[in-house]
């Protein structure tokens, strides 16, 4: 077994994860609890971006409605909590069920189409969820809903303290990374990637690409739903704003700038996004202008994202 990682990028990523594992300790030493908040939020977004990457990066399905699952997950905590049901397993079960079902039904319709249609339909369905929650006056409508207590798990699993919640998020992130890694290297993932490049060929090889894609779409939706469940617990205040379509756009940005279709790309992309958001909004209230210009520049001039630059190092090393 190799002790040292094989490539520069693998080394960077291993170090990155190790740093994340001890982050709460570092922040308590330097006495900056705000950073733990920021990091928790970043990791939740990273889980969402990882789930989007599964369909967008590996599967080539450009979904512009992924934020809907964040909202669904959050409301699967918020609505039971509104009726004083705080059992965490109930929240988790409900999240998996509802986001899976929503992904199955909308996916079955979306995946019949391609290209421009697919993008617009995923967007339309997420807006449908958005407006549905806006019009549900019982659960706060536009104003949202306050969650007074976090999901309750047995003591050793509790997410009550910020550090405990952080490790919850970190563990889910690790599981997601491992799961996606196994998934894309299994036959299932090969079929998904294969049908992105040449669907006709996959079909003539005997694979029902529609069913593979739909399964992939549902898995992605469920993971993002779980990210939403964590987000609901983290913010303790939920509103339809969480699933606005700009959030879906931001998720795409995170996936693309990190490097779509790579395991760690979304993680790097999310880090870049959270950093930009904090840094730019610190220097100017008009930070969306800079962010927007960066998006345009990214497409017109840059390719491959941050991961692309890192793997350029790898290629150099192989040659050298």
């Amino acid at each position: 077994m190799r002790i040292l990682p094989k490539t520069v990028s693998a080394g960077v990523y291993t170090g990155f994860l190790a740093l994340l594992a001890i982050a709460p300790w570092i922040f308590s030493v330097i006495d900056e609890p705000f950073y733990l908040d920021l990091l928790s939020r970043g990791l939740i977004l990273a889980i969402a971006a990882l789930s989007l990457n599964l369909i967008l990066g590996y599967g080539g399905m450009v979904s512009l409605g992924h934020a809907a699952y964040l909202g669904i997950g959050a409301y699967c905590v918020g609505i039971p909590a509104y009726y004083d049901f705080y059992n965490g397993w109930l929240h988790l079960g409900l999240t998996v069920l509802v986001s899976g079902l929503f992904a199955l039904v909308t996916g079955a319709i979306c995946l019949r189409t391609k290209g421009v249609y697919f993008i617009m339909i995923t967007l339309a369905f997420s807006q449908m969820v958005y407006f549905t929650f806006v019009s549900l006056e019982e659960y706060g409508g536009d104003d949202g809903l306050v969650i007074y207590l976090r999901s309750e798990f047995p003591t050793w699993l509790s997410m009550e303290s910020p550090v405990a919640l952080y490790y919850w998020i970190f563990t889910v992130l690790l599981i997601t990374l491992f799961f996606i890694h196994r998934l894309v290297h299994a036959r299932f993932g090969r079929v998904i990637v294969g049908s992105r490049f040449n669907e006709d060929r996959m079909q003539s090889l005997g694979y029902s690409t529609y069913r593979y894609r739909l399964t992939c779409y549902v898995i992605s939706g469920v993971i993002c739903g779980i990210a939403g469940m964590l987000l609901g617990n983290f913010t303790s205040f939920i509103s339809p704003e969480m699933m606005g379509w700009t959030r879906s756009g931001e998720l795409i940005f995170m996936v693309v700038i990190g490097g779509a279709g790579t395991l760690f790309g979304p993680l790097v992309g999310t880090a870049a996004f959270v950093f930009l958001e904090e840094f730019l909004s610190y220097i100017t209230i008009y930070w969306h202008l800079i962010f927007g210009l960066m998006l345009i520049a990214l497409v017109l001039f840059g390719k491959g994202g941050i991961h692309g630059w890192l793997s350029a190092f790898d290629r150099k090393e192989k040659r050298g």
Binding site: Y117, L123, A124, L136, Y286, G292, L295, L298, V299
Partner: protein
């Protein structure tokens, strides 16, 4: 039943439908001909309203505001096509999404920087500000103006698309772009014109509605998504489809919001109906889209001979 209310609501639905048509007709052509997904189409709606409002507040003339607004949205639309969209027609749809999402952020923030965060009210001339009464029915004059001008633009567009050479090229482009290119048409010029005209119509819709709702940041981002639904239901690339789908969706949305609770009350207790009706009417348009996609994935009126 209150017939006056019904007629008012039908006219409101018609008004929404025609606004949607102004947005969707440009959008459907940009999708259909250039295969370009333009999320920022709603930005022109906002920009048109702000330019118009500024000129109105300086000159006091709504007509001047609209003329300046039309010219400006045409120019900005052409600039976006020239500098950005043009480079991306052959690239991935993902690139279109990212670039036009970036454009929305840029336009929204620029409007915020220039005009401030508060909305901008546009004063109507007194002639248009009154009401027209037909028997017991009293209607705001300006709503009738919106409906008339919407229909007028639709008619002009129809004549342009079905009777002129430019229209012929547009129809040909929507059906089979490669063939049009192969026949030696200057496709770059055609794309530029289509994009700019689309932007202008989107801007015009924004100018029409702004005196009622006032111009505000992000005003285009909400309606543009319903315009996407219109494009999908009508069939990508089809102006006729956009027209019928816009009217159907405008009427369905408006009438759903005002009458769905009465309909639901027939089959369930009042309190449930009052909770369910708003949620269901918010979903109505999207349910229609899902049904159309399930039975006619190419839309209700796809352009002739398209794949």
């Amino acid at each position: 039943m209150d017939w006056n209310l019904l007629i008012t609501q039908v006219l409101n639905g018609l008004q929404l439908g025609l606004l949607l048509f102004l947005l969707a007709s440009g959008l459907t052509l940009i999708f259909g001909i250039m295969d370009f997904i333009n999320l920022s189409h709603g930005s022109f709606y906002m920009i048109g309203a702000y330019f118009c409002g500024t000129v109105v507040s300086m000159s006091g003339s709504l007509l001047a505001g609209i003329v300046v607004g039309l010219v400006c949205t045409f120019a900005i639309g052409a600039a976006v096509e020239w500098f950005i969209a043009r480079r991306l027609y052959r690239s991935d749809h993902l690139d279109h999404v990212l670039v036009t999402f970036g454009l929305i952020l840029v336009f929204d923030t620029l409007v915020h920087m220039i005009w401030g965060a508060a909305g901008m009210a546009i004063r109507l001339p007194d002639v248009l500000n009154g009401q027209v009464s037909l028997g017991t029915l009293v209607l705001p004059t300006y709503r009738l103006v919106i409906i008339t001008s919407g229909l007028l633009v639709a008619a002009i567009l129809y004549i342009m698309v079905s009777k002129t050479r430019l229209g012929m090229l547009i129809r040909a482009g929507a059906s089979n772009r490669t063939m049009v290119e192969a026949l030696g048409v200057n496709i770059n010029k055609l794309f530029l014109i289509v994009f700019a005209i689309g932007a202008t119509m989107s801007g015009f819709a924004g100018m029409l509605i702004a005196p009622i709702t006032e111009a505000s940041i992000g005003m285009g981002n909400e309606i543009i998504i319903i315009a996407f639904v219109v494009v999908i239901v009508g069939g990508i690339g089809s102006i006729k489809g956009a027209f019928y789908a816009a009217l159907i969706i405008g009427l369905m949305d408006t009438l759903g919001r005002s009458y769905l609770d009465d309909v639901l009350e027939l089959s369930m207790p009042t309190q449930y109906a009052e909770t369910a009706a708003p949620a269901l009417s918010a979903m109505l348009v999207y349910i229609l889209m899902a049904v159309v996609l399930a039975f006619r994935p190419q839309g209700l009126f796809p352009p002739a001979g398209s794949k």
